[in-house]
Assembly symmetry: D2
Homo-oligomer: 469 residues x 4
C-alpha cells in the first residue's frame, strides 16, 4: 500500500539532552511523516525552537541542534499530502500567551473541527493555519480555568475524534490521548527523566525503557513534581486503529502495548490458513508486506524469497523527469528479479489494497519478469470506507473495494487468485480484544459520529488543495 | 546617518497586473526596508501570497510571480534591526476568519500596544508574532460590527501612535492613516484602477499618476464600487514625521504632498545661510547628504565635488570576515578620494547625527586622506530624544546630542567647525506649516503620550533581541 | 559491512530519450556511489551536460533534464569517501580538444597512475583533478594516432589495473574493459539503440534486454555504423572481483553474466553446510546479509526472521548532532527487535568483516536486546589484504583479520561462535570458474603487480585527505 | 553606458592577513566584474582556495575566509556576460603540476589565442575551460625552462593582446603586464609586504600606499627575496585603454598613474567648451556620468542637479517578472524626478553611447517626466569599431555610430542636440601623452593586429553563448 495520512509525536522531560533525544526519536518516527518536522525545547525560563520542511536529516543540522537548550521539549514529524504542504502548517504549533510560550504536537484528526472553528471565529479568533492543532490551542487559551492543566482538562471533552497530543508549557510537558484511543502514544523511562512517543521504537536509540501505553482518555502531566496521571471519569468504547499494526507502525515498535512484529507475522500466518492456492515461493511486496510474508511462508511451508528489490534512493524527492506515467515511478522503486521469479508460480503478499492501481502495475511488472501463476494474499479485509480519524484514504468511489467484488478486483489487478484476510482472522492476530479496535474502513461502522461535518471537511480540504497558499 | 526603523507599504485595486505593479512598487520602496518582503493578491474568490526574508530581487522570482494572480493586492517591505529578524514577522500579516482571508501591511509603531495585547490575551487571544499588526488584526476580528469596513472603523480609534495601513479583504483593499499623520501614504491613479504607496516614487515605474496624500485619520475603501473616503469626525493635532524629508524618503518621491528633492535642497540652502565657515569645496556624505549639499553649494557659491565614493556592493550582506572593528565596514563603504580632498579645506554635509560614532570615523578617514580644515554642516537640529513612532533611534543616553553640547560634539567627532541647521530654518525648508510636524526627537515634546508603556516596550524589544526565536 | 570504494557507469546510443535512460540507469546504480553524479549527452553537433554533488534525485531536477538533448550520452555515479569529496572530481570527466568535446566515465583504480602522471607532467600536462580518469584523457589526446578509437586502442595497453570505461565523443560512445575484467560492464538492447551499464539492474527500468557481459579487454564502439567489438590479441589471466557478488552489486543484477541473487543465496547455502552451530532463528544484518540468510535458512532448516530493522532515512546525510560516538550512528540505523530476539539463541548472517568495529557494536546491541547465544556466519573468508583495484579496504594493519585469528576475532566482536565461509565454498557458489576471480584480499596474491607505486598512491591519497581543497 | 567586458585582479605577498586584504581588494574591484570571484592563498607548503558564482559578499562567508591561510595569494573578480557564465570559468585558474600548485588571475583578452590553442592541442593538451588563462597556463608548463619565473619569461613574448596577470606559485606571486599596457595594474606597499591590483582604490581599505603603475611589459616577482622587476628588452608602442578613464575605473582610483576623478572631471570641462547649447541645469546619467557632469557644470556655469535617481537595489539579479521589455528594467533603475526637470530645458551628460537603445529609452523617460529641451553631451567621441582587447563592444553593425552620423543618432535617440567630445579634447583631458592610448574603438586603428583570428573568436564566442554548458 502507498501513502496514508499520519504523524509522529514525542516529548521529553527531565533530561539535559532533551533536544538530542527528541531528535533521535523523530528519526525513528520518520516513517510516520516526511513532509516537515519541528522541535521546541525549554528550561522554564527560556525556550528555543527549530523547524522546517523536509526530512529530519535535512532540517536539523548540528549548528541548529546546538541552539536547542533546556531539559524538556516536544517534537513532531508531519505526513505529506500532495498539494497541501506549507511551511505555516509545520508543527509543533507554537503560541505566545501572556508573555509565556506554549506549543502542541498533534497526531490524529478531529471530526468536529468545523463547528469548533466556527464558534471560535464567532468569538473573534483568527487563524493562521488549517491545522486542528490551532483550534485546540485557541480553545485552551480561551478557557476560564486558571492553570494550563486545568484549561486542558476543561477543553479536551469538547473535542471529538482522534488525537494523541503532547503539550509544551513553561512548566513541563503534558501528554494526552482521546478517550477512544484511536492513535498510539506510549511512555518510556530515560536514564534521567521520561519520554513519550507515538511508537516505542523511538525509545530504543535514546536508551529509554518501555513503561506502558497511555490509557484511553488519559492525561499525563510530566513536570518538576514528577508524573501525574489523570484518567477520565467515564469511559467510552475503545477504538484503536488496527491499521497501525497492518501498515503504519515499524515492526520494531510496540503500539497499544503490542509488538507490531508479532502481530504482523500472525496476520501472515492466519492468511496462510485461509489461502487455498499454492506456488513455488512466497514473495513480499517490500517493505510493508515482508513480515506477513515470513509468517505466511513458515505456516504454509513455502520458501520465502525476496523476489522484488526496493530501491531505497527513490523517495518522495523523486520528481520524474519523464512524467510519462506513474507506472515508471512504481517500477523504478520496486524491481522484480527475473532470475528468481521467471517461469515460477508465485504467491505475493501485500499489506492492503486501496485504489488498486499500484497493485495492478506491480502485477504487470511481475508478469513481464516471467512469473507464471501469480496469487496474491492481502493481510487485511477489503477497505471499503473512508477514514475520518487520520488516515488519508480516498472516499468510497475511489476505493477499489468500495465498488467492486473480490472477484472483480482479482480480474482488474490481473492475478490468478486474490485472497483477503477475513475480519475474524485479522482481529484474532492481535492479542488485544477485537471489539476494542476501530474497523470502520472495513465495515463502515464509525465509532465516533462524523456525519456531514467531517465529510465536509474532508471535501473542503481536498478542494483547498487546488488553491494556492 | 545610518539605520533607522521604517517600512514601506503599498496596495493596488482594479488592475489585472496587480502583482507586477506591487512588485515594482516594492522595488521602489526597498530603501524603507531590506529585511523581508511580501505580497498577497486576490480576485475575491481566490488569493495567493508569497513572502520571504531578503530583498525584493531575492524573494520574488519569475516562477513565484506567476502564481500571484488577481486584480488587487497589497505588499510590504520590512526594515531590518540586528537580532530581531524572524521569518514569522514577515508582512503582510495574513489571517483566516470564517473561511475568508484577510491581510494587513503596516508602517509605524503603536504606543499602546502593550495594554492592547494584554487585554486581548485576557479574552483568550493567542499570538504568533511580536508585531503590532497582529494586535490590530485581532481587534478587528473581535469587533462586534458586521462588515470588515465597519470593524476597521470601530477599532482604529482605540489604537494610538503611528500607523499607515493597507488592508486586504475578499472585497478589495482599504488604506488608513493615523489621525496624527505620522507616516506618509499617498494615492495614485493607474491606467486601470488605483494604487496607494508610502512614497510617490512607487507610482513612477507603474506609470501611475499622483493624486494626493491621504488626510490625517482618513480611511480609503477601494473596491468594486470605486473609491470611498471616510474622514474622522474630529481632528487632532497633525504631527507628520519631518525625518521623512531629512533622511528616509527617496529624493524622487513626494511625501505628505511635498517634493522631497525640493525640501532637501532647501535644507541645504538654509544651512548655507547659517554656516559661518567656508572652504574650497562642498562634499556630501553619500547618498543621504547629496541633495542638501547641492543646495548648500549653490547658495554658498562653493564648488560641489563628489569627494567620497560609495561602494554600492557593500550592503547589509557584508558580514565582515575581519570582525576587527566596525570602522573597517564604514571605510570600505565610503572611500574619500585623496586626489580630490588632499591638502584642501572642505565642507562636508551630513543629513543628521545619531550616536556620533560613524561621523567620527568618517572624519578620521577624511583626515587620513589629507583634508586640512574640515567643517561639517548637518541638515537638521541635534537629535536629543528617542522616537516612539517608528524610528529606531536609541534612547537619550546613546544619542550624542542627548548628553553633549554642540561644541563637545564638534570636538568628539574631530571637525574644525560643526553647524546644525536651526529648528526654524528646518521647518521653513518645507512648504507645509511647521506646527504640523512632529519634532519630538529634537524637542522631547511628544504629540501622542507614550509614557511608561511605549518605553517599556522599547526596552522589552531590545531585551528580547538577546533571546532566541 | 560498511563503505567500500566503487562507482557506477552507463552509456546509451541511438535513442532520442538517451538522457532519460541514463538518468534512470544512474538511479538503479545509485548504490555504487552516492557522492556525486553526472550526465553528458549529445547529438554529434551539440552536447550538454549536468552534474553535481549528491544523489541522483538531488542533482537532476526536471528543468535540468530538459536541457540534456541528443541521442547518445554517458553517466556516472561516484562513491563517497569522507574528506576527499570535491566538486572538481565529479565525473564524467569532460575535455575539449580541437574544438570537439570528449568525456569519460570510469569505474576502477589504476595501479600505475603515479608513473603515468609523472611522465605526462614531464611533457607539460597540467592537472585539475586527482582522478585517474584525467590521466587516461591526457594520454589519449597525446596519442599520435588519428581517430579517437585508434587513440583509445593505442593507449589502453599502457594503463594497468582495474578499469571499466565509457567514452563519449562527437561520433558516439565507446565501452572498454581492462584485460583482467576486474569490474563488471554489460551490454543491453533498447527498443531503439543500445546501452551499457555496470550492472544489469540498470536495464530493467529502461526496458532494455540483457545481451551479455563485455569480454576481458574488449573495446565496444557504438555509433552510427552500429556496434563493433575489438578484442585484445593476447589474453591475460582473468581476475573478476568476487566482491561484486558478496556485497556490491544489487541482487536484481547480473554481473559478469551471473545472477547476483543466485550467487548470494548459494553463498548462504554453502555457509550453512559448513556451520557447526545452531539456534532458534536466522537473522540477516540488513540489507547486505539478507539473501545469504535466506539461503542459509532454507539449507539449515532454521526459521528466517527480520530481527533487525533498518532505518532507511539514516543515510550519509545523517551528521550526528550528538557527535558522541560512531556507535550511536550504527544503532540508529539498525535496530534489533527485542520482541523477536529476546531470550533466543540466534544465528546472524553478515556479508563480510573489515575492521570489526561495526560488527562488535552490533553484537553489543543484540546482547542489550536480550539475545542469549549469538553465532555469526560470514559469507566470505577473512579479509586480510588491501585492495588496489578499486575497493576502499584499509591496509592490513587495520583489517581485523590481517592481525588476528578467527578465534581472536570471535572473542573481540563478542559472539559465541564465528564461522567464515571457506575459500573453496565461496568460489563454488558462483558458476564461473574459480580461477577467473581475483581473491587478492583473502590471499594476498595480486593478479596485477601493484608494488610500491599503488601503495604509495593509496598512502598519498589518505594523507591528501587531511589537506584542503 | 551599460555592460562592458573587464575583470579585476589582485595579489598580496608578505602579510599574514593576505586573505583578508585580497578579500577587501576584491570588494573594491567588484565594479570590474560581478559574475564570479575567487581567492587562492598559500604559505609555500600549503595552499587553500575558495571561489564561486556571484558577488564577493555572497561567495566569501566568514567560515570560508577562515580556511584561507598563508602570507600570500591572489584574487579575481569576473565580468558577467549573459549566457556564457559557468562555474568552470571562475578564476583564479588553478593547476597542479609535478605535485605543486599554480594559479593565474587574468584581466584582458588575447588576439592570438585561437592559434595558440590549436598548436597546444596538436601537442596533446586538453582543455576544461574557454579561458585564455588556461592557454597561458599550458604554455608555461610546457616551457623547457627550469624555474617558474623563467618559464613565464619564456612564454609571455608569444602571447599577443591585452593581459594584466598575477601568478601564484609555491614561492610567491608574480605580476605581469602586456608590452602595450592595455590594462592597468599597480603596485602598493602594505604595512607589511606588498600588493598589486587593477586599480588603486583596492589599496585604500587595506591601508596600502600607492607606489606606481607597472611599466609596459614589466614582470614583477614578489617573493621571500623581495621585489624584482624585469623589463622587456625592446619596447613596443604603448596602447593604454582610454576607456578605463571614461567608464570602467572607479573615480577614487588611479589607473596608469593618473587620477580617474581628475581625468573624468576634465572630460566634462572640455565637453563644456565644445558644447554649443545651453539649458537651465546639468543632469548626469548616474553613476558613470556624474563626475563629468560636475566638471561640465562648473565650466559652463550651469547648476548641477541630480535629476535622475538610481535605484541601487536593482542589480544584475533583477530578473524581470514582467518580461515585457527591457525598457522597464531601465526605467526602474533610473527614475527622473518630475519635480526637478518638469518644464525645464536640460543638459544631460552620458559617458558614452554603444548601441543607442538605452539612451533612447532614457530620453523617452525624461520627456515623459516633463523635460522641454534636452541636450546631450557625451564625454568621448563616437564608438565605431569593436574592441579585441577585452571590452565587450558589439561589432560595427550593432554600434549606433558604426552606421549612423551624429545627426542621425541625435534624431534616433530623440534629443534636441547631441554633442560628442572631440578626439583631441578627450586625449587632452588626461595628462599622459595622447599617442600612448589605444583609441581603436573610435578610429579603427588597432595597435596589435587582430585580423581574422580574433574576429573569429569573437564570433565563435557569441555563437557559443547560444549553446549549453
Amino acid at each position: 500500500m502507498e501513502l496514508k495520512e499520519n504523524c509522529g509525536i514525542t516529548g521529553v522531560y527531565g533530561n539535559k539532552k532533551a533536544a538530542e533525544i527528541i531528535h533521535s526519536a523523530l528519526f525513528s518516527l520518520q516513517h510516520r511523516g516526511q513532509e516537515s518536522c519541528g522541535i521546541i525545547t525549554g528550561s522554564g525560563k527560556n525556550h528555543s525552537s527549530a523547524m522546517g520542511m523536509g526530512l529530519v536529516s535535512d532540517v536539523f543540522k548540528p549548528a541548529c541542534m546546538k541552539t536547542l537548550r533546556g531539559h524538556f521539549g516536544i517534537g513532531h514529524v508531519r505526513y505529506s499530502t500532495t498539494g497541501s504542504s506549507s511551511p505555516k502548517n509545520i508543527q509543533p504549533f507554537i503560541a505566545e500567551y501572556r508573555g509565556k510560550t506554549y506549543a502542541i504536537s498533534h497526531n490524529g484528526n478531529l471530526v468536529n473541527s468545523t463547528s469548533l472553528r466556527r464558534s471560535l471565529e464567532k468569538r473573534g479568533s483568527i487563524f493562521r493555519t488549517s491545522l486542528d492543532t490551532e483550534i485546540i490551542m485557541h480553545m485552551i487559551m480561551m478557557s476560564r480555568k486558571e492553570s494550563f492543566i486545568e484549561k486542558i482538562l476543561d477543553v479536551l471533552p469538547e473535542i471529538k475524534g482522534a488525537f494523541s497530543l503532547v503539550f509544551f508549557s513553561p512548566e513541563g510537558i503534558v501528554a494526552a490521548k482521546d478517550p477512544w484511543s484511536f492513535r498510539p502514544l506510549c511512555l518510556g523511562k530515560l536514564e534521567e527523566g521520561y519520554m513519550v512517543a507515538s511508537e516505542s521504537c523511538a525509545f530504543d536509540f535514546a536508551g529509554a525503557s518501555y513503561i506502558r501505553e497511555l490509557e484511553p482518555g488519559e492525561v499525563l502531566v510530566i513536570d518538576g513534581k514528577g508524573i501525574k496521571s489523570i484518567l477520565p471519569e467515564k469511559r467510552v468504547r475503545t477504538a484503536r486503529c488496527i491499521f497501525e499494526f497492518i501498515y503504519f507502525a515499524r515492526p520494531d515498535s510496540r503500539v497499544f502495548g503490542e509488538s507490531v512484529y508479532h502481530a504482523r507475522k500472525k496476520l501472515g500466518e492466519n492468511l496462510a490458513k485461509e489461502f487455498p492456492h499454492t506456488g513455488e515461493m512466497v514473495i513480499p511486496i517490500p517493505d510493508s508486506g515482508s513480515i506477513s510474508a515470513i509468517g505466511f511462508s513458515q505456516k504454509k511451508g513455502l520458501p520465502f524469497e525476496m523476489g522484488i528489490v526496493r530501491n531505497h534512493y527513490v523517495g518522495r524527492t523523486f520528481i520524474q523527469p519523464l512524467q510519462e506515467s506513474r507506472e515508471k515511478s512504481v517500477r523504478i522503486k520496486l524491481n522484480p528479479i527475473k532470475e528468481v521469479i521467471g517461469g515460477k508460480d508465485i504467491v505475493v503478499i501485500e499489506d492492503s489494497i486501496v485504489r488498486g492501481t499500484t497493485s495492478r502495475m506491480r502485477i504487470t511488472d511481475l508478469r513481464k519478469s516471467g512469473a507464471k501463476k501469480i496469487y496474491m494474499g492481502v493481510s487485511c479485509p477489503p477497505i471499503r470506507h473512508p477514514c475520518f480519524y487520520g488516515i488519508d484514504f480516498p472516499d468510497s468511489r475511489q476505493l477499489i473495494a468500495g465498488k467492486k467484488s473480490v472477484k472483480e478486483i482479482e480480474k482488474e489487478i490481473g492475478v490468478d487468485g486474490l485472497i483477503y484476510l477475513s475480519m475474524e482472522s485479522m482481529l484474532a492476530s492481535i492479542r488485544l480484544p477485537g471489539e476494542e479496535f476501530c474497523t470502520a474502513c472495513f465495515t463502515g461502522e464509525y465509532p465516533v459520529p462524523c456525519g456531514s461535518q467531517a465529510r465536509l471537511k474532508k471535501e473542503r480540504f481536498e478542494t483547498g488543495r487546488r488553491g494556492k497558499e
